[in-house]
Amino acid sequence: MVPYIPHTESDRNRMLQAIGVDSIDQLFDTIPPKLRYKGLLPINEGLSEHEVIRLLQEMLKKNILGTSYLGMGSYDRIIPPTVSQLASHPTFVSAYTPYQPEISQGLLQAMFEYQSMISELTGLEISNASLYDGHTACSEAGAIMISSKRKSTTLLVSETLHPFSLSVLNTWALGTEVTLVIIPETERHTSVNTMIDSLSEEVAGVIVQSPNRYGVVENYTSLSEAVHQNKSLLTISSDPLSLLLQKTPSQWGADIAVGDTQPLGLPSAFGGPSCGYIAVSKRLMRSIPGRVVGLSTDIEGNRAYTLTLQAREQHIRRERATSNICSNQALAAITTAIHIALVGPEGLTDAATQSYDKAHYLHEQLSHITSLRVDTKSPFWCEFPLFFESKAQLDHAVSFLQHKGIYAGVRLGSLTTKKEDEATLIVAVTEKRSKEELDIYVRYMREALA
């Protein structure tokens, strides 16, 4: 293929002439010769367009399509084809989040709609124009909490958080003054009482997740009261679709809501692209990171959208900015907004309810298989753990089902280092699964374990 290098030989010569240099190599004269790479990089010659297409098609053949029960943050949900049709509109696809606050009214309006929807889903007043994903959103929430309470450097984090969220939080806290205290879980639930007992002056905030990494819908009664009494803040991470059925972060008294909008219109291919949401209460408006679109009127009295509250951002506030985020996931956020607008509140509630019903049906059916164990006590929504007798048994079942065209679930042990997770499979059921598919899953699981 033709390499995308816009400059011709004569362009380059003109530029070199203008700065009074003979060759491009001469530009690197200040770097000692022994530090310079000599020769050409050992990479293959380029391929023709046709050859590239053929190569990619060969690679695509390695994909094994199957019925997916994979979840843990990324789900196989129904997305009306209209969503990608509308989201592929060239003005959305090519438009980067504008740095000039007033351009691209259409794009800004789409982002504003997205923010309004996130605000409505979470019940918190202010949403930004999105973050990279739900896990980075978690660490941004941590940053808000740390900066909001003077001389406080500790965050209490529930062990039931998604392993990736914990991992991003750890990376973010590395080399800073921030201390993360992981509060050990109690039988797959956040230990709310231990968390409350661990509150102290140094604690800036608390992060919990519901549904949590096991799919368990948690109960935060009395948590926000204790957290606020301690002058700390509360962040709740949630699958946004679950908020149609469970208590919203705002109803639990949270100051910050975070999560990933993948379940709202974004396909689950290879983990991306997804889109993080963050919403805060009005009093934290000036601490929310990233881009925020506001609605105003221009000098002629017309409705006008604009990027707003930029004085808190890095390009203005420099090292005093509370976050390093200067960008967002504009296209993924707009796709989410289009999905929500198309499906509507009834459609979302229907998807959430069907997921609940179907997951509970499968859960019940699987509970009758003797060598399997399920959690019959914890409330869940669309995802639940399946306990095998051993890792070998789990591996066998997963591979058996995969040969039948079924992705049985996510091996929890592949994401954590806990010994007891090795024989645990996290099974996610969405509105997309039919009763026939669920029955087939049960049948093959029985066969695999027979």
Binding site: R150, R286, A311, R312, I316, R317, R320
Partner: protein, 128 residues
């Protein structure tokens, strides 16, 4: 020309202080409000907290920047000007009438270290 009342003391970070009994009222100077432009938000410190001298204590945000306010003398925040919450532009209208916060437990000797109005006038003359 900036308005620099003679009865006040000043810091090089453009704060003014006024002693009222055993408490000290703190605000930003006319020069500071003029440099910042239209003020849209003031973040004030929590009441009851102790701040050292020169410690960052508040933020004044204008449409073009967000500027830290450095506490001119050590003390405990006794009161903040809550009117600024809804009407930050009051500082643009009169930055001496509209203070930021009041400190208690102040070592009044520290006040003497600050500039008087002449000293501050000379100082800002060197800035432009």
């Amino acid at each position: 020309m900036s308005n620099i009342p003679v009865e006040l003391k000043y810091s090089k970070e453009h704060e003014w202080v006024r002693v009222e009994g055993d408490r000290v009222v703190v605000g930003i100077t006319d020069y500071a409000q003029d440099s910042l432009g239209e003020i849209v938000y003031v973040e004030l410190p929590p009441v009851g907290e102790h701040y050292k001298a020169d410690e960052e204590i508040a933020t004044v945000e204008s449409v073009k920047s967000a500027s830290p306010i450095f506490n001119p003398v050590a003390g405990v925040v006794a009161e903040v000007n809550e009117e600024l919450d809804g009407s930050p532009e009051l500082i643009n209208e009169d930055s001496y009438e509209n203070y930021l916060y009041i400190l208690s437990d102040v070592d009044l000797n520290e006040i003497d270290q600050l500039l008087d109005s002449d000293g501050y006038a000379q100082y800002i003359a060197t800035l432009d």
